[in-house]
Symmetry: C2
Subunit: 325 residues, 2 copies
């Protein structure tokens, strides 16, 4: 059986965030047959809402019926298609797989993966990243015993994995602070419209990284993006690079100092260009260099689909359950 | 002579910032005869620009000619009426008084007070606050030997005074971060439009102060304004209070930890309501309670006018110089 079904579509896997949607059509084993990307995040849906997006996707890929389907991300938030509650740390892959929120889409059932919350002194939440984390553990089971997984982005996550479970995590608002400060604060207002030279850009980023890692409060350090320009120590055109360096440098400096982030090994997960910036910061600050993995969401989605028995295969292969057909 | 001129207008003193203008008509001794406030900051000038604002003020106060006039604040920036360069720390009152930038206004001469810069590892600038600081030292000469002066605001300053000079300072972007994050970030987007109860407001502010003073990076702590709401530990309506507490708490925690801020005595200078919030943070964090002074800009303006000989009186009384008549 498993040989004959190889190459056939077995799972529609969705990473449905606030501002974008990524979808993959996969075989039982997780081989990607088709890939799709759109701006139809949950806050930017076309007429017809969630259903219309799903219907368009089925049409585009000429699927007469909805195959088993699974989704992660903000689609499971209070503003999403249906609310999948947060599971409290520590969270295992099995716990996620047995807590899927089932939605009747009109075309069939969709399973939404819950988010994860950390109820520590400073409470925290993630939604979507838990699936990328499971993807890391599926791709690299050797890391599951003890690793820090860093997922840079609008709300960067530093997650601590111990014995295959997410035991705790913390968010840094690095990406959003960068966007909001360059667009709406005095720091962006006085940056120049022209692009800096490559040399200026690199120097500004590196100066930013070192400043961000000085141990002082970011609330104070940020103002140096203005005062350095006034002092002739930063070109106005390179202010965005300096800010990016400062916020990333502060995150890379602070992440390992959080209580639970004490692993020997660190993995970076995400977009190539952004991971490259983080790598430069790790190097500049003399921290052990993390291994970089690309987008691990597809690997996480098929892993949970396997564990939940939505498709056969994986460590806990189960007969096809017929959900959504 | 000094007796006969008491009560007569001798100085027009201006605190001319980015978004507002405050003006005082003073006697030789600094007694305030008239006070004026408008929204005509340097980025919000009416038709006719700086001159028109000054002319209107003379008309309003029925002054046939411009008396000796002095100004501090962003009016002396590159975007101001004329650029008064920054003086490098350490800066004495005399250095400020002998570095005034003279502007021919059309109605007579205006003297603009320079800003101050700190060329330390993390460079910093102030413009306007140096005058408030001189006002503190004029009103309270007993503090001049060694004091930390905290000036809360959009860009809060923590200035270190030693032997009557400004020896160093650091800016915290507390007010601007609060404004930008509540207006443009996810933290503000999910706050509720209704007002919280007084009890909710106080509790949220205090929780924010304690969180902001936890020693972790603000970039990470800020996200708790979102996750606490999701965890049911903060009402959406009280998010602005929590954010205010978090940013102020972080500033009050971090300020004394900056290298130069090591005085035994601390003074808070500024708006009553804002100083009250800072006082609550100092108390909550168990820090020695600072003395609160109101707006010390008028005292600073007359002090520098005295030192510069624009009006007679003060420690270095000089004959009336006739500038601007």
């Amino acid at each position: 059986m498993s040989g004959s079904s190889a190459g056939l579509p077995a799972l529609l896997a969705l990473d449905w965030g606030t501002s974008s949607l990524r979808a993959w059509l996969m075989t039982e084993s997780g081989q990607i047959l088709k890939e799709y990307r759109s701006k139809h995040g949950i806050l930017n849906l076309p007429e017809g809402g969630f259903s219309a997006v799903l219907e368009d996707l089925l049409g585009l890929w000429r699927l007469p019926i909805l195959p088993p389907a699974i989704a992660c991300g903000m689609v499971g938030s209070a503003n999403g298609w249906a609310e999948a509650p947060y599971l409290a740390c520590p969270v295992s892959p099995d716990a996620l797989a047995t807590s899927l929120k089932m939605v009747q889409t009109g075309q069939g059932m969709l399973s939404i993966i819950p988010g994860v919350r950390d109820d520590g002194m400073v409470p925290d939440v993630m939604r979507g990243e838990e699936t990328q984390i499971l993807g890391v553990l599926a791709l690299r089971p050797d890391l599951a015993e003890d690793v820090t997984i860093v997922l840079p982005g609008t709300h960067s996550k530093w997650a601590q994995i111990h014995q295959g479970r997410i035991v705790g995590f913390r968010t840094f608002m690095t990406g959003e602070l960068y966007a909001v400060l360059t667009a709406h604060s005095i720091l962006g207002r006085f940056s120049a419209p022209e692009r800096p030279s490559d040399a200026e850009s690199i120097m500004a980023f590196e100066d930013g990284v070192r400043t961000g890692a000085s141990g002082d409060s970011v609330s104070s350090l940020l103002f140096s993006a203005r005062s350095r320009v006034l002092a002739g120590r930063l070109s106005a055109a390179a202010v965005p690079d300096y800010l990016s360096g400062l916020l990333i440098g502060n995150e890379v400096y602070s992440g390992p100092r959080l209580n639970r982030a004490s692993s020997q090994r660190t993995v970076l997960v995400g977009d190539d260009a952004l991971c490259a910036r983080y790598l430069r910061a790790f190097r500049l600050l003399g921290q052990p260099e993390p291994e970089v993995l690309g987008n691990t969401a597809p690997a996480g989605l098929i892993k949970i689909a396997h564990l939940a028995g939505l498709v056969p295969g994986g460590a806990r292969s189960q007969p096809f359950s017929g959900v959504g057909a």
